[in-house]
């Protein structure tokens, strides 16, 4: 799973039949540079991760932070009434499983032997 910010919506008309009625969002995953830049102990030119398209049945909107699951978990997530032993029928591999209310980043920045500085930060979208 990863946490990201919803940055857009994706529409399509020509699609697999079982995807009818399913909403798709464009999500930008959080990079360590967004959450705890002090943990980057060497300069990196890449501080953005690739965007991900994920199915959403929770009703997340643009600007909200969400948790996205991949694979089998994603297929189960969009079919909440799935019975045990039945294979999920929709061909997706990423889905929103939670809309984030609040998160806290509390990295212990130093390595063993260091001063163990804590830089706690709270985020509420």
């Amino acid at each position: 799973m990863f946490m990201g910010r919803v940055v857009g919506t994706v529409w399509s008309t020509a699609k697999w039949e079982s995807l009818e009625g399913l909403k798709f969002l464009l999500i930008r995953p959080y990079h360590i540079a967004d959450l705890a830049p002090e943990m980057l102990n060497r300069p990196s030119p890449f501080t953005m991760l690739d965007g991900v398209v994920a199915a959403d049945i929770l009703g997340a909107g643009v600007g909200e932070d969400v948790v996205v699951a991949f694979g089998h978990s994603a297929r189960v997530a969009v079919e909440p009434d799935l019975a045990a032993g039945v294979a999920p029928g929709r061909p997706i591999d990423a889905a929103v499983v939670a809309i984030v209310d609040h998160f806290q980043v509390d990295p212990v920045v130093s390595h063993p032997g260091g001063d163990g500085t804590r830089l706690r930060q709270d985020y509420t979208p």
Binding site: F2, M39, I57, V67, A74, A77, I99, D101, F103, G116
Partner: protein
């Protein structure tokens, strides 16, 4: 499995009904950088059942491996694809034929 450092926690109320009430942690992925570990930039969200706290070096298991951490043996409907499977006490590597061991706090 992935090696990572726990950096925080996430809370949510609007979530999938399958997503059970468990601790949801933010874990920064780590890679080897010379003799130490460095962040790759990727941050993953993993469920925690073993009491990992910020600062802990952990392994994260993926897919049905993660579901097996949380609910063995019948875990097909557990909606989890990443779970913290161990807290690392020490790790070692071989440099020029010598074994170097790093013990975490």
């Amino acid at each position: 499995m992935m090696l990572g450092k726990v950096i925080g926690e996430v809370w949510s109320t609007r979530k999938s009904p399958h997503f059970e009430a468990r601790k949801v942690m933010l874990v920064a992925a780590l890679e080897q950088d010379g003799e130490s570990l460095a962040v790759t930039g990727e941050v993953v969200v993993a469920l925690d059942e073993i009491g990992a706290r910020p600062g802990h070096i952990v392994t994260v298991s993926w897919g049905s491996g993660a579901r097996a951490v949380l609910q063995p043996p019948d875990n097909r409907l557990v909606l989890v694809d990443a779970a913290i499977s161990r807290i690392i006490d020490a790790h070692s590597q071989e440099i020029d034929g010598r074994e170097s061991v790093v013990v975490e706090e």
